[in-house]
């Protein structure tokens, strides 16, 4: 088993082969069944310690990782760092060293700075999972999105996926682009020009500023969350204009394929990037994404857990 996923950490989709991705998605399928049983426990990670280290608040991702670890039998501890030592001036590396001394086996990290999780991974001896670093990557989100798509469409290759909204500030978009491109999907990003980073087309995606062009014949419509701060920073003028032009409503969804699925990584701004009627509508798979999140994280924890050394010596 362990030989099928030969990575010590999961820092991003970048670096994963299509085989790695397929392996994680396949094992996540199996994990779905575990979560749907009355007895939701496996013993794979019994005795292992998992620390969720969140430098940025997150309810959804943190609880998803917590449940995933617990269902695999690990001891899970949550650390909300934003309220503790960082405020007292401790550096990221000091925090890492301190935690390392507590001998965790799995470290799930979210940080507001791109590259911070990789930096931390260099300083600890356990397996590190990136739960989101700045606007860089959020690999488990991309995996759960891929799993959701695959379960609905039966494949990833050849699908037209439109990723719509604040691409510039989105780690979800970057991880999804990497994953879907690796699996052979056709990817479009759709956003106002102010929310499209420079040279985006060089990442192998089609860039659109019009929803009509971007959604035409799409199999998957993936909406991104719009942060309120974008208005203050003069990226876009107002919620009402954004919703009118780039918000997903019935009319715009009509430009996609009739059987297109609608996704959102959450938390949603109803009436900003998505019409509530669409979010709760027949084409929406948003709640299913949450279920797939637990399954995918179980698969990732399991894969990395199997690569952990059986006996850990004391560090000199």
């Amino acid at each position: 088993m362990a030989s099928q996923f030969a990575h010590r950490h999961l820092l991003g989709i970048e670096g994963l082969s299509p085989q790695d991705i397929a392996f994680l998605l396949d094992s996540a399928e199996a994990a779905i069944d575990v979560s749907r049983q009355v007895e939701k426990k496996k013993a794979t990670l019994r005795g292992r310690t998992q620390i969720n280290l969140f430098f940025e608040a997150s309810t959804r991702t943190q609880s998803s990782f917590e449940l995933a670890g617990k269902r695999l039998g690990a001891d899970v501890m949550n650390m909300a760092v934003s309220s503790s030592s960082v405020k007292k001036g401790e550096t990221l590396v000091d925090t890492a060293m301190t935690l390392n001394a507590m001998r965790p086996d799995l470290l799930v990290v979210r940080h507001h700075a791109a590259g911070a999780v990789a930096l931390l991974a260099q300083k600890v001896e356990c397996a590190v999972i990136n739960a989101g670093d700045g606007a860089h990557e959020h690999p488990t989100q991309a995996l759960l999105d891929a799993l959701t798509i695959r379960r609905h469409k039966g494949r990833l290759g050849g699908l037209v996926v439109a990723i719509c909204g604040d691409v510039a500030h989105s780690r979800v978009a970057r991880s999804n682009i990497l994953l879907l491109a690796a699996m052979g999907a056709r990817i479009r990003v759709v956003a106002p020009s102010t929310l499209i980073p420079a040279d985006m087309d060089r990442l192998g995606v089609e860039v659109h500023t019009s929803m009509r062009d971007g959604l035409a014949d799409a199999d998957v419509v993936m909406m991104l969350r719009l942060q309120r701060e974008r208005m203050d920073a003069a990226y876009i003028p107002s919620v009402r204009e954004y919703f009118r032009i780039w918000g997903l409503d019935q009319e715009k969804l009509g430009w996609a394929k009739p059987d297109a699925i609608v996704m959102h990584p959450g938390p949603m701004n109803r009436g900003v990037e998505i019409d509530p009627l669409i979010a709760d509508g027949a084409q929406s798979v948003i709640r299913e994404q949450v279920e797939m999140g637990v399954a995918v994280r179980m698969a990732v924890l399991e894969a990395l857990g199997q690569g952990l050394p059986e006996v850990v010596g004391l560090v000199a």
């Binding site: 019009s210 003069a234 876009i236 003028p237 009402r240 032009i245």
Partner: protein, 435 residues
């Protein structure tokens, strides 16, 4: 339906078709039927009025890209009604209003307000420019999508320069998604802040703090860089000096979507006209040196400057009858823009066709208006101009509610004698014998 009107014995000048020839113009049902040497070849239609122009020229009505009004909020200075009468008298058939009003035109409902007031009171066409940033604050973008849908023709912070390069970049970038024209007043607010006239010998002699040319060139250079970076459509509202036009010339050779305007005042006046602290010559940008004026004229002639505007800015006596340094900026200009511009034609510096292009055809094109042309089918927004007639600008004869004209008592040659909007006559010079 109104009866057709045939204008005979006229010089037809239509820059949109490169036409300058003796001939006739036929209009019917508010539109142009024919204009040019052979326009009367079909004979006079039944029931047509015939107007003998006695050699006067017919031009497409002017499109003035920079008009400050006082409505809403400063109606004592100028209303849309009074501005439109001044426009009609000056041969301007379309005014593009600035959003610097109270409240600022930064909301679709306010664009709609301007249209409704214009429909009810104005005698020429009114096209509002909306704010580039909310409340002209220079920090948050206005809603270009919704504002354009409401009818805003471009986006500007009017007499305010957008100081933040980041906001300017985002405005140009976001504007691109709506093919919006972003118009900036190019004057660095920090460098210009304490100055009240052009920096140099004259200011030194008058004991007035100066504004260096660099206040303009720094902002213009920055904007050109950002236009290049973003690919947005950019227009410098007014340039006033030699270094600015040199920079524009270079930038245009590199071929990005930039354009620039100049006010008639900066083409025909210089800092020496301030004389003994005459506040009607105080404006932003300030009147510059004679060599700058000449450079701007040359740039108009060679096409580096695309647009000539009036920069009509009515100010009341209270804010103008002040010591120079404390007086408000701005001068009215709608009624004198063509006549003053014709001085450049008379001096041989700028061909008539080029002047009309810059005052009518090009602004119409930049703003996407159906104007600036005598092509068959276009709205009959036309003016009849007696290019030879001498007249003197009299303060009391101005239609504007404010009389702060830099051309008070100036002698002009060339006068608008009739102005038509959509085929309807909206101005007729008192001295013109009626037909």
């Amino acid at each position: 339906m109104s009866a057709p009107t045939l204008f005979t014995n006229t010089r037809v000048v239509d820059p949109s078709r490169g036409l300058d020839e003796r001939g006739a113009v036929l209009i019917a049902d508010g539109r142009i039927v024919a204009a040019g040497a052979d326009a009367a070849n079909q004979g006079t239609p039944d029931g047509a009025n015939t107007i003998d122009c006695a050699g006067a020229a017919i031009l497409p009505g002017l499109v003035d890209m920079r008009v400050f009004v006082g409505e809403p909020g400063g109606e004592h200075r100028e209303t849309l009604e009074s501005a439109s009468r001044a426009a009609a008298a000056g041969g301007v058939t379309a005014i593009v209003t600035m959003p610097d009003t109270a409240p600022v035109i930064d909301d679709p409902a306010l664009v709609d307000f301007v249209f409704r007031r214009a429909r009810d009171t104005a005698i020429v066409r009114v096209h509002p420019m909306a704010a580039m940033t909310r409340g002209l604050s220079g920090s948050e973008l206005a809603e270009y999508g919704l504002l354009k849908e409401a009818g805003a023709v471009a986006f500007t912070d009017g007499r305010h320069s957008v100081k933040s390069a980041k906001v300017m970049r985002n405005a140009l970038t976001y504007g691109r998604d709506f093919d919006a024209l972003i118009v900036n007043h190019v004057e660095d607010p920090e460098l210009a802040k304490s100055g009240v006239m052009n920096e140099g010998e004259t200011a030194t002699r008058l004991g007035l703090p100066g504004i260096p040319l660099e206040a303009e060139t720094i902002m213009l250079d920055r904007d050109i860089c950002l236009a290049r970076l973003t690919g947005g459509r950019y227009h410098a509202a007014q340039v006033s000096c030699g270094p600015s036009v040199a920079e524009l010339r270079r930038a245009k050779q590199m071929g990005n979507g930039i354009s620039a305007g100049a006010a008639v005042a900066h083409l025909t006046l210089n800092e020496n006209d301030i004389g003994a602290y005459r506040t009607f010559f105080k404006m932003s940008p300030p009147l510059r040196r004679e060599e700058d004026r000449q450079a701007v004229v040359e740039a108009l002639a060679d096409g580096t400057i695309d647009v000539v505007c009036s920069a009509h800015d009515p100010q009341d006596v209270e804010v103008k009858r002040q010591p120079f340094a404390e007086a408000a900026d701005g001068a009215v200009g709608l009624e004198t823009m063509l006549a003053a511009g014709l001085r450049l034609v008379q001096s041989g510096e700028v061909p008539l066709m080029r002047l009309v292009e810059a005052m009518s055809t090009t602004p119409a094109k930049l703003l996407g208006l159906e104007a600036g042309t005598l092509s068959p089918g276009a709205p009959a927004d036309i003016i009849m101009v007696d290019l030879e007639r001498p007249w003197v600008v009299k303060k009391d004869a101005l239609s504007s509610r404010s009389q702060n004209s830099a051309f008070e008592d100036a002698r002009m040659t060339g006068k608008v004698v009739r102005t038509y909007v959509g085929g309807r006559i909206v101005f007729q010079d008192g001295a013109q014998p009626s037909h």
